[in-house]
C-alpha cells in the first residue's frame, strides 16, 4: 500500500482513460475526471488524519530505483508541510473539475489537460527526488499553455505565452542550480532525503552556497511569484478559464514557496541566511505594489490576480523570517489563501460565463439575482481581508508575530497591506453585488442544484474549518517546520546572525 503513489497516479490513470473514451460521450468524460480527481482528495484526507504528529520527517515514503547510474530514484512521501499542501491541491483540483462541468467546448481535450495539470502539481508536492521534482514541476507548467490558449478569454495568447515562458525560464534556472548542487556535493544522487542528511554532515562550502542560492531562489521565485518576476501572474489569472485560475492562483503559485522551503532551505542553509533578508525587501514590494495595483483595477480577475501576488508576499515574508512562528504562518497562509482564491475565482467564473464582463461596475446588485454566488464571493472577500474566523487571519497573524522582531519595517508594511486588501475587496463587493440590480442581468442563473453548489461548499467548509480550528493544521505543520529550522539553526551561530 503506497497511498502517496496512488494519489499521484490517479490523475494520470484518468488521462489514459479519457484518451480511449470517444469525444461525444461528454457525460462519461466528466464523470471519469471527477472520479479521478476525487480519489486524491480521499487519499489526502486519509493522509492528514493518519499523519503521525509525534515524529518529524517524511512518512509513507515509497522508493523505486529509477536510473541507478545517475542516482535517480522515484521517491515520494509527505511531511507535515507537503501533506497540508496536498490536501489544498486535492480540494482545489476536485472543486475545479466540478466547476468545469460548465465547459461545453472540446470537453475531452480540456479534461485531459486539466488532469495532467493536477497530476503534475501533485507530483511536485510529493516528490522527494530532485529529478522527479523538476520533471513534475515542468509537467505542471506545460498543460497551462493549451488550457489558457484554447479555453481562456481576453488577451489569452499573450498571457499564456508569457506565463509559460516565465515559468519555464524559472524552472531551467533552478535546474542549473540543482545540477550544480548535484555536482558539487560529489555523491551523485538526486535523492532529497539522502542529500539532506548528507549535507547536514558535510555542508557545501559557504561561499558556494551563497553563489548557488540565487539560482534556486530566483528560479523558484518566478512562480512564487516574487517581485519583480511576478508580471506573468495577474494576466495569467485573468485570461485563464475559471477552473484553471483556481488551480493556478490557488495551488500553482504555492509551488514556488514550497520549493524554496523544501529544496533551497534544506540543501543550501547558509545561502538562505545570506539571501533571505533580501527576500524580505522584495516581498515588501510584492505586498505594497501588488496591493496598490490591485486597487487601481476595474477588472475583478485582475484585482484578484494582483491581490494574489500581494498575498504571496506575506508567504515569502514568513519564509524570510526563518523562525518557527512565521514559517508555520507561511504554510498556513499558503493553504488558506489557496482555498480563498479558488473560491473567489470560482464565483467570478460563474458570473463571467453569463455576463461576459468582469468589470465589477458593470455588474451591480447581483446579490439580488444570484444570492448563493454572491454570498460565496463576499465570504472570499472577507477571508481575503483577514477577518477572524477564516484561515487567512490565522496565517497572517502568525506571520506578523513572527516577523515583528526580525523585520520590523516589512512587518509594518504587511499590516498596512491588509488595509489595501480590505479596500479593493470590499469595493468590489459593493459595486458588483450590492446597490440596484442592473436590469441587463435579470436573466442570470444562480448555482441552483446541490451539485452545482458542492464545490463552493467544499471550499468554504475548508476555509472556515481551519479558521476556527487552526490546530487541525498547525499541529502537523509545526513539527516539520521545526525540523527544517533545526537543520538551519546551528548555522545561525556560524553565520554570526
Amino acid at each position: 500500500m503506497h497511498p502517496v503513489t496512488w494519489a499521484l497516479l490517479s490523475p494520470f490513470v484518468g488521462v489514459t482513460l479519457l484518451f480511449v473514451i470517444p469525444q461525444s460521450r461528454v457525460d462519461w468524460v466528466r464523470r471519469i475526471s471527477a472520479i479521478f480527481a476525487f480519489i486524491p482528495f480521499v487519499i489526502a484526507l486519509y493522509l492528514i488524519s493518519h499523519y503521525d504528529r509525534t515524529i518529524a520527517g517524511y512518512q509513507w515514503v515509497h522508493k523505486i530505483p529509477w536510473i541507478s547510474s545517475l542516482g535517480v530514484s522515484y521517491q515520494v512521501g509527505v511531511d507535515g508541510i507537503s501533506v497540508v499542501l496536498l490536501l489544498l491541491h486535492s480540494i482545489c483540483g476536485l472543486a475545479g473539475v466540478l466547476i468545469s462541468y460548465r465547459i461545453t467546448e472540446r470537453v475531452k481535450e480540456y479534461y485531459i489537460f486539466y488532469l495532467m495539470l493536477i497530476g503534475g502539481v501533485t507530483g511536485v508536492f510529493v516528490s522527494l527526488d530532485l529529478f522527479f521534482f523538476y520533471m513534475f514541476y515542468e509537467m505542471a507548467v506545460i498543460p497551462m499553455f493549451p488550457l489558457i490558449g484554447i479555453w481562456g478569454s481576453g488577451e489569452k495568447y499573450y498571457a499564456t505565452m508569457k506565463l509559460t515562458l516565465y515559468l519555464t525560464a524559472g524552472a531551467v534556472l533552478a535546474l542549473v542550480g540543482l545540477m550544480m548542487v548535484y555536482m558539487i556535493s560529489g555523491i551523485w544522487t538526486f535523492d532529497l532525503i539522502f542529500l539532506e542528511r548528507y549535507l547536514a554532515q558535510n555542508p557545501i562550502p559557504g561561499h558556494i552556497q551563497i553563489f548557488l542560492f540565487p539560482f534556486l531562489l530566483i528560479g523558484f521565485g518566478v512562480i512564487a511569484p516574487m517581485w519583480p518576476f511576478h508580471s506573468w501572474s495577474p494576466i495569467g489569472h485573468a485570461s485563464a478559464p475559471a477552473a484553471v485560475s483556481m488551480l493556478h492562483a490557488g495551488v500553482l503559485m504555492k509551488l514556488g514557496s514550497y520549493a524554496i522551503l523544501r529544496v533551497a532551505f534544506q540543501i543550501l542553509p547558509q545561502g538562505a541566511y545570506t539571501w533571505m533578508p533580501w527576500v524580505a525587501v522584495l516581498c515588501t514590494m510584492n505586498i505594497l505594489y501588488g496591493g496598490f495595483v490591485a486597487m487601481a483595477q476595474k477588472d475583478i480577475k485582475y484585482t484578484i490576480g494582483y491581490s494574489s501576488s500581494s498575498h504571496m508576499g506575506y508567504v515569502l515574508l514568513g519564509l524570510a523570517c526563518l523562525n518557527p512562528v512565521a514559517l508555520n504562518g507561511a504554510v498556513f497562509l499558503m493553504f488558506a489563501h489557496g482555498i480563498m482564491t479558488a473560491l473567489a475565482f470560482a464565483s467570478v467564473g460563474h458570473i463571467y460565463d453569463q455576463t461576459h464582463t468582469r468589470i465589477t461596475s458593470d455588474w451591480g446588485g447581483l446579490s439580488k439575482r444570484i444570492p448563493f454566488i454572491a454570498t460565496m464571493f463576499v465570504l472570499a472577500a472577507l477571508a481575503s481581508s483577514g477577518l477572524p474566523g477564516f484561515g487567512n487571519f490565522v496565517g497572517e497573524l502568525l506571520i506578523f508575530f513572527g516577523s515583528w522582531d526580525v523585520y520590523r519595517w516589512p512587518a509594518l508594511a504587511a499590516i498596512f497591506g491588509i488595509i489595501t486588501t480590505a479596500f479593493y475587496m470590499l469595493r468590489a463587493v459593493r459595486t458588483g453585488f450590492f446597490g440596484p440590480l442592473n436590469p441587463k442581468w435579470e436573466h442570470l442563473e444562480d448555482a441552483n442544484t446541490l451539485f452545482e453548489k458542492a464545490p463552493y461548499l467544499l471550499l468554504v467548509g475548508a476555509l472556515v474549518a481551519v479558521g476556527c480550528w487552526p490546530r487541525l493544521l498547525t499541529e502537523i505543520v509545526s513539527v516539520s517546520t521545526g525540523n527544517i529550522l533545526s537543520h538551519l539553526s546551528p548555522l545561525k551561530t556560524l553565520a554570526g546572525l
Binding site: S69, Y157, M161, V172, Y182
Partner: protein, 475 residues
Amino acid sequence: MDTLLYLLPEVWVSLLALFVLFLDLSWEKERHPQIGLMAAMGMIPVLPILFMQRQLGTVDLLYGMYRIDQVALIFKGIFIFAAIFVILMTREQSRTMERGHGEFYLLILAATLGMMFAASAADFLMLFVSLELITVSFYVMTSYLKTNLRSLEAGVKYLILGSISSACLLYGIAFVYGTTGSVNFSEIRHFLKGTPYSASCLFGLFLILGGILFKATAVPFQLWAPDVYEGAPTPVTAFLSVGSKSAGFLVALRVFHELFMPASSDWVPLMVWLSGLTILYGNLGAISQKNIKRLFGYSSIGHAGYLLMGLATPSSLGTTAVIFYLTGYLFTNMAAFLVIITFSSHTNSDEIKDYAGLARRSPFLAMVMFVSLLSLAGVPPMAGFIGKFMLLLSALSEGFLVLAVIGAAAVVISLYYYLMIVRTIYADTPSDASPIPVSWPAKIAMITCLAGIFVIGVWQEPFLNASFAAVKKLF
C-alpha cells in the same frame, strides 16, 4: 566466412538495395509505390541482427579497417530506424515525384549503407569513403524534384558546400597522416599516447573538424541548412536532419573522444564556444520563420549546438549524453516530419499559418505534432527532456556554467517558437476544415515514434545503461 557473418547487416542492406534496383527495372510503373513498402519491410530484420551482435564485443575486421563495437551498433540501429521512417515518408510523398521512385529508394539505401560503414570505420580512408557515399547520395536526393527550382537550388548549394567540406576533411586527414604516419585509428591513438603531438597534427584536426561541422550543421558551417532543408524533398530533409547529422556526430565522437582525447585541452575551449554560438544561432534564427521546414532547419542547428555541448565534455558522461540525445532526437524529429509530410501531401503547403486548426482537422496529427514539439523543446516526460538533461549535466560536470546557462535559456527560446506552432494547431480556426486522412503505414510509423519518445523519456534506464556500457569500451 566469419567476417561475412559479422558484416551481415551491411551485406543485407546492400542486397536489399540491389533487390530494389531489380524491382525498379522489372515492375511496371503502376506498382512502383509498392517498392517503398518492400524496402521498409526489408530493413526491419536488420534490427534484431544488430541487437544480437551486441554480444560479440569489439571485433576488428578487414585488417583493422573496420570495427564492430557497441557504439557502432547503437548508431547503426539509429540509421536503420531513420531509413525505415524516411522510406515510409517517401511513400507518402511519392505522388509529388514525377518519376523514378525506385531510384529514390535506392539512394536512401545507399546513404544508409554509407552511414553504417561510417559507424564501423576504424580507418580514416574507410571513413572518408563512407562519408562520400552518404554525401553523394544526398546530392542527388536534395535536387530530386527536377521541376522545382527550390529543390534544384538546394541541390546546388549542398553540392558546392559539401564538396568544400569534403576537401577540407581530406586535407585534414592528410595532415594527420603526415604527422602520425598512419591512417588507422588504433595506430594513431597509439602514436598520440606516446609522442607529444605537433602543431601540424592539430591543424589537421581542426580541418577535420570543419568537415564534421558541415555535416553536423554547426556554426560556422551552418548557413546551408535552412535553405537546403526548405528546398529539398521533405523525406530528404528528415533524413538530413536525423541520419546525416547523427553520422556527423558519430564521426566527431570517434575522432575527438576516441582518437584525440589526449589533445582535449586544445580543442575543448573551441568546442565550448562553437556550442554556445550554434545554440544561439539556431534558436534565435528559428523565431521569425514562417515555413515549417525552414524552421526545422534552424531548430536542427540549435540541436546541433546542444550536441556539441556533449562533445565539449571529454568524458564518458559527455559521450553517453550525445548518443542518448541522438536516440531521442531520432524518434522526435521523425514524428514531426511524418506529420509535415502527411500534411503537405494533402494540402501542398509547408507554411505554418496553414496548420491553423489542425487539431480539428485531424486530432491524431495534432497530438503527434504537439508531443514531438514538446520533446524537441525538452519538456518532460518526453525523450528530448532527458537528452537535454544529460547534456546540461555533462557540461556542468566540466564546469561550463555559462554554456549550461545558455543551453537552459535556449530551452525557453525554443519553447517560444514551438509553442507558436502548437497555438496555431490548437487554438486558431482553420480556413479549410476538411479532415486530413492518415494512411496506415504513416500511422504505424507515428505511433512507433510516439512510443519511442515516451519510453525513452520515462523508462530511461535501459537506454542509458546501454549507452554507458558502449561508451565504457571507448575510453
